[in-house]
Symmetry: C2
Subunit: 362 residues, 2 copies
């Protein structure tokens, strides 16, 4: 088992990474302060792991909430089902919520914990690669509003994150690869050596080699923890974690979140950000091409949807802009491992990137 | 104008108290960081003060949300109307929410600010005495759930509290007196000198004498700020602010929140807490009687509802108990100005208090 600490003063917490951790009763129990536990999971994950987690909690009052699976259920109405159960079963301020599932379960459970009686403890038990390397770490919690993603939420840190890599064996390969896009992201934004390691070893990860999995999750969490420790509430540096995401969100919005997975959209977004960085004279052509090559080798898309043109990209990215703060800011690369945030770039070069299609990074 | 600071490190903020402050454009503007403002108010307050506040905000993008008036609208569904407007009008992370109204408006606006895009600024503009001396200060925000009051919320501090005492001229006398119950509470729990001042001057306050009003609001806010500064998230000391409230909540629940105002229920609750403190040998009979006498002199009830018996009190207080943490804790008095929290008291003495009716503090 590996342990990575997220250093946030009195809100610090450990991330445990290992094979079979969901079966380790003592590990989980050591982070539960009271006698009441409410497990939130979804219809897909419940049949696989819920009994196992419940069985480790003998001696506790255990309540379970099984949500429908999918981003479209990540809203205030479904969130209220968690509050219903907490109140029906008389959970008090010393209860602990457990988030057993992927990013949607983690985001909703975290926000429920942030809000129930103005704040109770929670623990993340992420079961997808995306949640294990990204959404379960860093305290971003929340739900969607019909007019925007993640518009209602809180920065609220868990007591612990317990990552059982054996859960990835049940994850569809396409979701594994989509999660791997966020792994590559850490190499690109802040860890050149990790990027180089991934170039050599990506296949071991995708083959679910246990040591390789534990290593990439540990390195990803370490990189994320370092960024979050410096900027918990995203007033500056933390924005680099959005590398590839402004392009990616435009794709997801264009497809109404129906076709590509988040990680797939981010994968192309990272290629586009690398392409723009190259066009602006910031990133070498060689490094832009290495970026695209690793993403392609991992089986992820490197070309935007063919039915989406530069005009559509520009419009959807400018909607994003207005919601943020009146300026379109992008995360770009000086080099592999050196990302920065800027709103100072040539609009003409951006248009070239948006219309490059097959010719990105060439 | 008087200024009282709430000392919470980087979350510190000023409380301004004065006659006519809502008309002071520069004061309000000095606490607004961005260019967007959303004012939340209700149907009762809007006709009285909304135009005035809007007129002080020239140069800003101003959005208004007018909620129905009343505790029964303090829920997630009505809260969502605030998010609807924020998103429809494209408010970004640098927007500021203004809470113009009483406690319900303040609690909902504060929780909306805590949750919108994971946290934006807000300013309290309380227009009832209860909100001015209690709910607008200290950062407790939230909404009710069908199964419990204030069960969903956040500890989230405003940028400033601006208290315009002239708004009290439009407040129904019954609501003024109910707010005054919380003023008396500060004297009882932590400020003997303030209690003595109130014994001599309560009539000036209820007559809306401007200097007297400013003085009692300032002293109330100072006392609350000192308690909150020591225990922001209510892990200990802050619970003394609930003096009289466990008894009061039982009355409110019994009446399904229909008959008495919160402050009226708390008024009797404080007499009951004083009575129990006396029966337990903690508080002198003289001080128990002074407590009851001031509450009665202020035109507040000092006898529980006659249709409510000791059994009903005990049951409703034990429901409160279960939701909290398995032990019934009460705030009692060693003396006027010296409250403490305990779960160590004689159940028999409590029964005597619950059945004393007209004979409380005798």
């Amino acid at each position: 088992m590996r342990v990575q600490n997220v250093d946030l003063g009195e809100r610090s917490y450990p991330i445990y990474i290992g094979d079979g951790l969901l079966a380790q009763s003592d590990l989980l129990k050591s982070h539960i302060a009271g006698k009441q536990v409410l497990i939130v999971t979804n219809e897909t994950v419940a049949p696989l792991y819920l009994d196992q987690v419940v069985s480790t909690l003998s001696g506790f009052q255990v309540t379970t909430v099984i949500l429908p699976d999918g981003e479209k259920y990540k809203n205030l109405e479904v969130l209220n089902r968690i509050f219903d159960q907490l109140l029906t079963k008389k959970h008090n301020r010393s209860t602990t919520l457990l988030a057993l599932g992927g990013g949607v379960v983690g985001d909703m459970t975290g926000f429920a914990a942030a809000s129930y009686q103005r704040g109770v403890n929670f623990i993340q038990l992420p079961t997808t690669l995306l949640a294990q390397v990204d959404s379960s770490v860093g305290g971003k919690t929340g739900v969607n509003h019909s007019q925007g993603k993640n518009m209602i939420g809180a920065f609220y840190q868990p007591e612990a994150v317990i990552i059982d890599t054996s859960t990835l064996a049940s994850l569809p390969e396409r979701e594994l690869k989509a999660g791997f896009a966020e792994v590559i992201k850490y190499g690109l934004i802040c860890d050149e050596n990790f990027f180089a390691w991934l170039q050599l070893n990506y296949q071991s990860v995708l083959n679910l080699d246990s040591d390789a999995l534990i290593y990439v999750i540990e390195q990803s969490c370490r990189n994320k923890a370092e960024v979050v420790a410096q900027d918990e509430r995203e007033s500056g540096l933390r924005a680099i974690l959005n590398f590839g995401h402004t392009f990616g969100h435009a794709i997801e919005t264009f497809q109404e979140y129906r076709d590509w997975l988040h990680g797939e959209a981010v994968a192309v977004g990272m290629v586009m950000a690398a392409d723009l960085s190259y066009r602006l004279g910031l990133l070498s052509l060689d490094q832009a091409q290495q970026t695209k090559a690793l993403i392609a080798a991992a089986g992820l898309p490197v070309i935007p949807p063919t039915n989406m043109d530069a005009q559509q990209f520009a419009e959807l990215m400018s909607v994003d802009k207005k919601v943020l703060d009146g300026h379109l800011r992008l995360v770009l690369l000086h080099a592999i491992g050196r990302a920065f945030v800027t709103s100072d770039f040539s609009a003409d070069k951006l248009k070239l990137t948006l219309s490059s299609g097959f010719h990105l990074c060439q």
